[in-house]
Structure formats: structure tokens, C-alpha cells
Symmetry: C2
Subunit: 233 residues, 2 copies
């Protein structure tokens, strides 16, 4: 349809999202359970990813046969579980910074999820690469230093990818977006839009990498080392 993104009212966006979930029969039961728990338990659950996004992340790791995953930034740990589920066959270790450790233990997932409780910048200094997949989803102001640090320290495998979440900042990268934004948080999102705009420009200008901005969910930047396609496939 030439454009990548449908125009929808808030009601339509919600209805279509629900419709997609309702028609989906291949969801991971573990992710569905943890998503429901997040929704039911936390007032600010809007911070979590959607279940279909978690399913998408699981699939990316599966198809790339990732064996080492680094998850930078954790709310209730839905992404860490996605990596866990994705890597059952490769026996991968997922390192997540910050965490919902009790939930992981109750699911029996603590065997391959390692939680590092520390500021991301400090934790990164203690980790050794390379990682096949790095997921970055923490405060916007940390995007640039964290991604810079990952590249500078060579933590990304030659054929690895960095996925950075929310690079549309709810649409605010293009100025004021309509979305389902709480009016009280409008200033926060306007500022966030500017911060993410700067981050996206920083990545696009970095000669070490190529980036694709996936125009779905809240925008996901996929960053690869330049030349990695040639050498790996």
C-alpha cells in the first residue's frame, strides 16, 4: 500500500490490535501469562511492550539462532522472557539489567536468565561480548550513551543486531502526535521526541553501522555492523 503505516483513530487502533491478538493462535503461553500478570498488577503497565511485540522479539531471536542475548532495561521482564523462550534450543544465556526476578523464578526461568542489578552504563562495563542480540529499552536519554558504549566496547557480535525500542517516541519524533497520550504527560513526550530524534540521527550518521527503522509498534531501530551481511551469510 506504498505507505507502511495505517492511519487510525485511537479506538480503531485499539480494536485492530485486539483483533490481531484474537486471531493469533500461535502465542507463547509463558509470554501470554506474564503479559496478563503485568496488565493486572501494575498501574503503569502502559510502559510494557504489547504481547504481539514480545512474540515478534521472540521470533527474531529464534530465527537468528541467537545464543547470547543482552537485554538493557527491564520493567516487568517481558522482553527477557521472550529471549528465554526464543533460545530454548540454543540454550542461550540472557543477561538482563534490572529485573522481575521473582516472576522468573516462579516460571522456572532463572536457569538461563542472569539479572544484573546496576546502572546500565556500569553493568555494561562488567560484561564481556560478543552478544548476538542486544535489546535496548530504558530511559530515552540513555539510548545514545548505551548504544555508543556497546559499539565502542565491541559487545556486538559481527553478525549481531541491536534492537532499540520506541524510536518513534509514540510518534513525537515528527512533532506533536495524537496517540493515546495522557495530557499530563504531553511535555514529557514532546521532550522525548526530541531526544529520540537526536538519537536516531546519531545512529544514522555512525559509519560503523547501518540502521533500519521498522515502522511498527512504537518504531524499532535495528542496528548492524556495516559489512556484517556479507561476511555472515
Amino acid at each position: 500500500m506504498l505507505n507502511s503505516i495505517l492511519s487510525l483513530t485511537p479506538d480503531q487502533a485499539r480494536a485492530l490490535d485486539q483483533y490481531a491478538a484474537d486471531c493469533t493462535t500461535g502465542l507463547s503461553p509463558l509470554l501470554a501469562r506474564h503479559y496478563q500478570w503485568t496488565r493486572d498488577t501494575f498501574e503503569d503497565a502502559d510502559r510494557a511492550s504489547s504481547l504481539l511485540q514480545a512474540q515478534w522479539m521472540m521470533q527474531r531471536a529464534q530465527e537468528r539462532r541467537a545464543t547470547r542475548v543482552l537485554d538493557v532495561g527491564c520493567y516487568t521482564g517481558l522482553s527477557a522472557l521472550a529471549w528465554y523462550e526464543a533460545t530454548k534450543q540454543t540454550g542461550a544465556e540472557a543477561s538482563t539489567l534490572y529485573a522481575a526476578w521473582k516472576a522468573f523464578v516462579s516460571y522456572g526461568c532463572e536457569d538461563r536468565i542472569r539479572v544484573v542489578e546496576a546502572r546500565a552504563e556500569e553493568a555494561l562495563e562488567t560484561l564481556a561480548g560478543p552478544f548476538d542480540l542486544v535489546f535496548v529499552d530504558l530511559e530515552f536519554s540513555a539510548y545514545r550513551p548505551i548504544v555508543g558504549q556497546i559499539l565502542d566496547r565491541g559487545l556486538l557480535a559481527d553478525n549481531g543486531i541491536i534492537l532499540v525500542d520506541n524510536v518513534f517516541a509514540r510518534g513525537f519524533v515528527i512533532g506533536e502526535a495524537r496517540g493515546n497520550i495522557d495530557p499530563a504527560k504531553l511535555d514529557h513526550w514532546k521532550q522525548s521526541g526530541q531526544v529520540v530524534l537526536d538519537f536516531n540521527a546519531f545512529v544514522a550518521a555512525d559509519p560503523r553501522v547501518t540502521v533500519t527503522i521498522w515502522p511498527f509498534f512504537d518504531g524499532i531501530a535495528e542496528i548492524k555492523l556495516r559489512g556484517s551481511e556479507r561476511s555472515s551469510k
Copy 2:
């Protein structure tokens, strides 16, 4: 953000789409060239996929290391080129039904794209499986018989996927959607919404498969044989 889909006005959707493309540095030059040619040459170019969707399809085939791809339905052949680009290393053969053969020849891509000019139902009868990836993107009324035929004839590899495009029918699966729809085509899209609704229900009820509806682009159904995850990874 709990929901998978942003709510955007038509202008915002267009701006965000353009922004994503502008920030993307890792696009396939061949896909970009063919996309531009499609835009410049055809008045009904709105039928084509977006460039970022083509890039997404290319990546899916790459990461799955597909070796045999079947592309059912062809407009200017952007999807066939995506499979071609994705499978350079595996040397895959992409079979596309209907086609833009001259363009393929001018790019030097005719070596591994086989064009079958026939009605899809008839062409499918002549093809032998299994295919690792099948892309279905033709008139909505053909979705159900074509996918049924692919499953009945065992054309899908055990670990293969069928991707069916436009399963949101521009949002009309949930009733009237706002989108960028030409008012003259409103009835067409309302009817299409109903046809696709029936198709999605048909797939969700088929015990042979699981389906995930990706809530991006115009909705993409990903269909897998049940149990294929266990056996293959």
C-alpha cells in the same frame, strides 16, 4: 506501550513513514530502485508494498535461510525481488506467479526468479513443494482457496511459513476504518474487510496450523504447521 498500534492522522502516518525511511541506511539498493520505478511508472502504485515492508520481507527470508520461495500474486514484482535479494547466499529459486519480467531481466535477476504466468489455482497444481516461504498477495477472494490448496497439497515445508499480506484490509476488518481510502473505493474496502475477516477466521480454526497476525504494515498473517517449532529448532 501495551498496544501494538499507534493512532495517527493520515498526515502523521505519512510523516512517520517518511521519517522511518529517511533514517534507514541499510536498505537494499535493488529494492529501492524497483520501488522508485514502481512509484514513478504506475498510477495505481498504491497497490505496491512499501519499501520498508519489502525490506522486512527480505530479512525474514534471510534469517530463515529460505531456499525455496513461492510468491503467489505479483504486481510489479517488488516481493519477488525481495526474495531474490534475501537468498543470494542460499542460491534459492523464487517462483513468482504473474510478473514484471522485463524489469527482472534488466536487473540481471532472471537467473533465479521463475515466472509462472497462469491463474494461481492452476499454477499451484503444477508446482511441487516443499517451499520454505510462501507469500500470498493477490485478490482477497483467492486467499482462502489458495492457502487451503497450499496446505492440502503439502506445498509448505515442515518448518516453512506462509505470509499473507493485507489481512487488515486497510483496517476494514474491524468495520469502517479511516485510513487514506479514496471515497470511490469505500464499498470495495468494506466488502474486502468482510472477505478478509472470513479468511482470518478460517485460518484461526484450521487445526493443522498456528497463525500470528503481525499488527504492522496492513496486517500480515504468518501461518506455520502445528508442531513445526518443536521439530525444527
